[in-house]
């Protein structure tokens, strides 16, 4: 479990060579500014309004993707199709088709739509909604198909029409997974909305980037702390709802409930301790309906306030014609090198993120006071968009693959670290207590007693996360020499559409292969020993 951290060794060896002079002072200044953020009303005001836009984009993008994703999930579920008309090929066909929007990162969607449509609030929302809807569709349809079909068949056999039977037999078992995955997606949407801002699609991200580039660290931290507050509020709120509605954790790392098909959802609802009071079941449903009733108008109001015009998405600017003469320039790109460095970047970042989370947990094991500190660090890492960390690292390091990998790894470390912490809190480890009773030190007891039980599902999640990192590697492309991502951004800004198209295809293919590999790794890890 800690073995991926071995990647630290070459990184640490390379690091000193990359450090350039003068950076240390700037970094010190940056860290000092953390305690003294600017409280100027002007700065605060613009940060708050930027944050409002970011949250708005996240909420609207998330809502659109949830609706669209749910519809697509039903349409690509084999169980739904076989129950409604006895055929499954449309489901399989749609599944293949949805792999395309899924394989392209939301940042790329954002930049593409920006070129096609121009700067519109709707662009950022669509950029989040398109890939997210495809992801939601995949995860949910996998969950639907993994549900036992007995109750559905029984209802159908008793003469119930297909839609009512589906809602009654599959709705309730699907609900916990649906809600907790939806909550997780909302957290992701907030991160994505910030990231899109960094690339100029509006909101707080744009301001953060400007502050960083002009070295206004005090103002930067004003925005950062605000964003952190919103993110923690969202995360605690969602966790509260999850507890209230008796939902499993987003990822049943500690339990037996991790389903190999729904990667990040831990969709298992069976086997969760059912401690519902008798009248809880209907109440939960009523509360959810109420929440939906409140959410609907809120979203409409938000869209109005932000001046979102969905119809603007239909007005495309004319594409520059793809002259046949320049295909040679596509072929002339150094493909093996681009693909190779993208893969290397992903591997290094994945090794850092997957290996460091348990390693740091081990390091702090004897000191209870270090735990909140670690939690805060991970919260900052999650919230800090990778391109911003990359820019920050550039203050200290030379541009290159290692810098990009560090930025990407740090961000994912925040996500993995929090997950591991939650799972390890949930996990009942009598072995650890036994070891401690036998006088084994806290670190070793944690290592042998707790980690051994968590390792498989943690690594399985790590495999899934590596696949996400491959997709995300484009966002750190701006620090240069980072493979396909760098080349993509370059082609995009120079309007080299033919190159861009070639790069997108290769990138999508690479992502799909990576997804397949990570699925296999996960299935293997989660297979009963």
């Amino acid at each position: 479990m800690v073995a991926p951290a071995l990647v630290l060794i070459p990184v640490l060896v390379l690091l000193p060579g990359l450090v350039h002079g003068g950076g240390i002072d700037l970094l010190k200044e940056f860290l000092q500014a953390a305690i003294t953020p600017s409280l100027d009303p002007l700065v605060l005001g613009s940060a708050v309004s930027g944050l409002g836009v970011t949250v708005g984009i996240a909420l609207l993008g998330w809502a659109a993707s949830a609706l669209l994703g749910l519809a697509l999930a039903l349409a690509s579920s084999r169980q739904v199709w076989s129950s409604c008309c006895g055929q499954t090929w449309p489901a399989n066909f749609l599944r293949r088709l949805l792999a395309v929007p899924r394989s392209i990162h939301e940042l790329l969607w954002g930049l593409l739509l920006l070129q096609l449509i121009g700067l519109q609030p709707a662009v950022a929302i669509a950029a989040i909604a398109i890939p997210y809807a495809a992801l939601v569709a995949r995860v949910l349809s996998d969950q639907i198909d993994a549900l036992p079909s007995g109750a559905l068949a029984a209802l159908r056999c008793a003469g119930v029409a297909a839609p009512q039977a589906l809602v009654t037999a599959l709705g309730p078992p699907l609900l916990p997974g649906l809600l907790s995955y939806g909550g997780y997606r909302l957290e992701c949407a907030l991160r994505s909305a910030t990231l899109l801002g960094v690339f100029g699609l509006g909101g707080l991200g744009t301001e953060l980037k400007l502050c960083l580039q002009s070295l206004e660290f005090h103002e930067l931290w004003t925005g950062l702390w605000l964003l952190l507050a919103v993110m923690l509020l969202l995360e605690t709120g969602l966790a509260g709802l999850r507890r209230r509605w008796l939902m499993p954790r987003r990822l049943g790392l500690g339990g037996l409930t991790f389903t190999p098909l729904g990667p990040e959802s831990g969709a298992g609802t069976r086997g969760m301790g059912q401690t519902a009071r008798p009248d809880d079941l209907g109440r939960r449903g009523r509360e959810m309906v109420l929440a939906l009733v409140v959410l609907g108008p809120l979203l409409v109001w938000l869209a109005r306030a932000m001046g979102v015009q969905p119809l603007a998405l239909l007005h495309w600017q004319p594409l520059p014609n793809l002259g046949g003469s320049s295909w040679a320039s596509v072929l002339a790109l150094p493909w093996p090198q681009l693909v190779g460095s993208t893969l290397l970047l992903t591997l290094v970042a994945a090794g850092l993120a997957v290996g460091l989370a348990p390693l740091l947990l081990l390091v702090i094991a004897p000191w209870p006071w270090a735990r909140p500190l670690l939690q805060l660090t991970w919260a900052l890492a999650r919230l800090w968009p990778p391109p911003l960390s990359a820019l920050l690292l550039l203050l200290l390091l030379k541009p290159g693959l290692v810098t990009a990998a560090l930025a990407l790894g740090f961000h994912n470390l925040g996500i993995l670290g929090r997950l591991l912490l939650e799972a390890s809190d949930d996990y009942q480890a009598p072995a650890e207590i036994a070891l401690q009773g036998a006088g084994v030190g806290p670190r070793l007891a944690l290592f042998y007693g707790r980690f051994s039980g968590l390792a498989r599902s943690y690594l399985a999640y790590g495999a899934y996360r590596s696949d996400v990192m491959l997709r995300e590697s484009v966002v750190v492309g701006l620090v240069g020499a980072a493979g396909l991502g760098t080349q993509l951004l370059e082609s995009l800004s120079s309007f080299a559409w033919d190159q861009l198209l070639g790069l997108l295809v290769v990138y999508a293919l690479l992502t799909l292969v990576g997804e397949d590999l990570s699925d296999r790794a996960r299935l293997q890890l989660l297979a009963p020993a």
């Binding site: 029984a154 008793a158 029409a161 839609p163 069976r270």
Partner: protein, 272 residues
């Protein structure tokens, strides 16, 4: 696998409960379901009338489950004809669903919806006649409490279980809830595929009695049974062997010789 020697098909006995004027509740004629090697059902014909309690006997693999799956419309036979209350399976979806709503199946694995409360599960039997609004409302609000309470009382369960999630019930309670759900469906034809297979002997005979008690002049029961010692409450028994009907006669007239022929002399699980 050696192919079984061809056997003279036994002609169906119309059975004591079917009068000439009354249409049979369930009628299978010359039903064949193909299988690997030999057919799972081989030209099976039988008829069951209202008020009849019929047991289906046979060694495992004899085709009992296939026969019940054909009878409740889940399995389409390759040849032969099927009639429910005198009518063949309808072609249009709506009419077919109306037919299916009159057939109640007690599944061996019960097929309750674990995440829902007892009340919601009982109401799910009414979905065939309810429209969308009530189907959705059932997930949010307790509906038809009086009718559900009555159904529970008929299976000796208290109304305090209505709000419990099904997953919180004991094995015996679950069986009873499944039967209560059938009562809420109020079917004319009651089918049960080895409902007693995984139960302890005392619970098995209690539940069997409960099922037998549900038969009224306008309701028929066809139940596949793995223990011939429980035949007492049945009117009729049908012996199935290698996909063919071996005997079809009043339950009281079944003797050791019939059973020996059916099971090759090895009686399954007779007595604890």
């Amino acid at each position: 696998m050696p192919v079984a020697p061809a056997r003279e098909p036994v002609l169906p006995n119309p059975g004591p409960g079917v009068s000439s004027q009354e249409l049979p509740w369930l009628e299978l004629s010359q039903i064949t379901v193909p299988g690997r090697g030999r057919p799972r059902l081989d030209r099976v014909s039988l008829a069951i009338g209202g008020g009849e309690r019929v047991a289906l006997l046979g060694p495992s693999g004899a085709g009992k489950s296939s026969l019940l799956a054909v009878a409740n419309g889940q399995l389409k036979p390759s040849s032969g004809s099927l009639r429910w209350l005198g009518a063949p399976p309808a072609r249009s979806g709506r009419a077919r669903r109306r037919q299916q709503a009159r057939i109640g199946t007690l599944w061996q694995d019960l097929r309750l919806i674990e995440e829902l409360s007892v009340q919601q599960n009982l109401n799910s039997a009414r979905l065939a006649t309810w429209g969308w609004p009530r189907a959705l409302l059932n997930l949010l609000w307790p509906l038809d409490t009086a009718a559900n309470r009555e159904a529970l009382a008929q299976v000796d369960l208290g109304a305090e279980l209505l709000g419990q999630p099904v997953s919180a019930l004991s094995g015996g309670q679950r069986q009873r809830v499944a039967i209560a759900r059938l009562l809420r469906q109020d079917p004319e034809l009651l089918l049960a595929d080895e409902p007693l297979a995984s139960l302890d002997p005392r619970l098995a005979s209690e539940l069997l009695q409960l099922l037998l008690d549900q038969v009224t002049p306008r309701r028929a029961l066809l139940l596949s049974l793995h223990r011939p010692d429980l035949l007492a409450g049945f009117d009729r028994a049908i012996g199935l062997r290698q996909g063919q009907v071996l005997f079809d006669q009043p339950a009281s007239s079944i003797g050791p010789a019939d059973l020996a022929a059916l099971y090759d002399g090895e009686l399954p699980g007779s007595g604890p």
